[in-house]
Symmetry: C2
Subunit: 351 residues, 2 copies
């Protein structure tokens, strides 16, 4: 029986949900996947750090009182010591789920780098390291014979990257376009019902879709990071956010929405990337009035969707949740499954 | 360099399109997939049969005049000799693309059985053997250490089965529902525009969507075969068409469609299968008036779509073409890629 030992960097909603899946479904997952999972390290800004090579009792961690920290436990400390834990944990897989820093991706980029340099594979839901340092980190992973997976960096657990990379093998994908931000999509839907932008944003905040500062959702910079990831991963581009022209939904007026509805169209914030005639990849983020027959026109509320423009199959579209802690934790489980498959294929190849 | 030798059983639109892909993209596919493809046998009701162990010159086959047969060529005969060719070809993969027989699946079931018994893996787009003898043929393939793949038996090349089996690993799929027949979906759309059922069917025939006898499309028996495949493959059921309650779109009147539109709903022919509280799988085919917010409500014209109801991820939907010769040929290429991966993993495991 194969087993993977996991280090959880950040213990917020997503990594906590992953720990819950591992805790509650250990036997079922082992039966289905052919390997066992064990958490051997946790770090968190508030809880501190915990390293236990024989496996952390997750039941005990979930039962901790709100003011408690890991200090005083065997292998525990009151401070996160992220770099120390990442380099010294006995885990073979490091799961990075700290906050996304859209400027330079830190400290997540350093976390991923430290994990790879110390011979560990990495799963992350963090857009920062993937969008801002993905090329470097993928090269580093290849050089160290480990795997860097990041399904949850785009469209949470809806497996867009794995669909493009695995399920569509044998096709040429010439372009991708998607609804990649649930908050802005929800806001546009509410504006169709007559609400103002400001009221719709306030409602999205009340429902927990939008951040306290909704600028990244409304002005398209969240989608900008995601389209960089899709362009680089699926179209083999090497672009950065600076290469992506960006316009947000604040440019869409109530009158625009009424006009579009009269023509049977719907405004959507679309991230798109495609290869031009010279083979260069052009990527944009902008509000577009889509005709109702367009596969993305009916994607409503917090749902996300990506359409792939392919040579042999035409347009294929995947839609699903774009957020949620359990949904995003599934992305990490899916990454761990991919890391396991990759490790097994390397063992097979070296025999 | 790995290589797969292919026998094409049936040389109608789909297998001809696969031969075209192999002929025109040999080098590109080899680069992308890590293996070469070569056609070493073709059988066809009209052309006869051709077996050439060193590889058939596909350019010559495409250049044949309409009245020509394989008779007189080296390894050629005027008759198809399907069973003989399947058992004696040097191919390691047999691609079955003869017509679907919805009653007993023959002769395709025998073709698949003969291929497996003689140690060959099989790819097929033929619903018959999969829906009517899938359990037996999968067991037989396992016993002979070969692979039986049939992505194109449902939703043509849109990779529904591979998405469920590979991309969604680690999830529990509790139900599937889909728009699985493009003709009936096109007809319902035209009825929404005020056309009668009969006129819409005639138009679908003129456009090449509907068969000369459209009964299987309109009365749901085509979807019945497909939902059996989805239920058995994705939910692990062992049902047959007799277990699937079926109603067709001839039950939907013009008045029903107008009523639904007034409520913001759309009639769709839905194939669905789900696990009930006791773990039994219940499958139906019936017209359903879906609210416009339903992920399948906006799937229009010949497009097909399948929604998966999952535990951790909620509803995930894949939509794409449900027919087309090149689209369906891609399903076969996708099957060949899966067979290659399976063969490699068996070699790895035995070392």
């Amino acid at each position: 029986m194969n087993r993977h030992d996991i280090a959880l960097i950040g213990f917020g909603g997503v990594n906590r949900a992953l720990a819950q899946i591992i805790h509650e479904r250990a036997d079922e997952l082992t039966d289905q996947l052919g390997f066992a999972l064990r958490v051997v390290a946790i770090t968190d800004l508030r809880l501190g750090s915990l390293m236990q090579a024989d496996g952390i009792d997750l039941g005990e961690v979930f039962a901790m009182s709100p003011m408690d920290t890991f200090a005083g436990r065997p292998g525990g400390a009151a401070v996160p010591q992220n770099d120390f834990v990442i380099r010294n944990t006995t885990a073979d897989i490091v799961v990075e789920a700290t906050f996304t820093n859209p400027l330079d991706g830190e400290p997540a980029v350093s976390h991923v780098r430290a994990a790879i340099e110390s011979g560990k594979s990495v799963a992350t839901t963090n857009k920062g390291p993937v969008a801002l340092a993905g090329t470097e980190l993928n090269r580093l992973a290849a050089a160290h014979g480990v795997t860097f997976e990041y399904e949850g960096s785009v469209v949470s657990g809806t497996p867009i990257l794995r669909f493009a990379g695995e399920t569509l093998k044998g096709l040429r994908v010439n372009g991708v376009q998607g609804i990649l931000n649930g908050t802005s999509n929800y806001v546009l839907g509410q504006m169709e019902s007559g609400m103002t932008l400001d009221d719709a944003v306030a409602e999205a905040q009340a429902l927990g879709y939008a951040e306290a500062d909704p600028t990244a959702d409304i002005e398209g910079s969240d989608v900008q990071l995601k389209i960089v990831i899709l362009a680089n991963e699926i179209l083999g581009a090497q672009i950065t956010t600076a290469d992506v022209e960006r316009r947000g939904i604040s440019e869409v007026s109530a009158a625009d929405i009424i006009d579009a509805a009269a023509r049977g169209s719907r405004w959507k914030l679309i991230g798109s990337a495609s290869r031009d005639a010279d083979g260069n990849v052009v990527a944009t983020v902008e509000p577009v009035a889509l005709p109702s027959t367009h596969p993305l026109a009916s994607v409503s509320g917090p749902t996300n969707a990506v359409s792939f423009d392919t040579d042999l199959l035409g347009t294929v579209t995947v839609s699903g949740p774009g957020a949620g802690r359990m949904e995003t934790a599934y992305a990490l489980l899916s990454d761990i499954i991919a890391i396991d498959a990759h490790q097994r294929s390397m063992i097979g190849a070296s025999e």
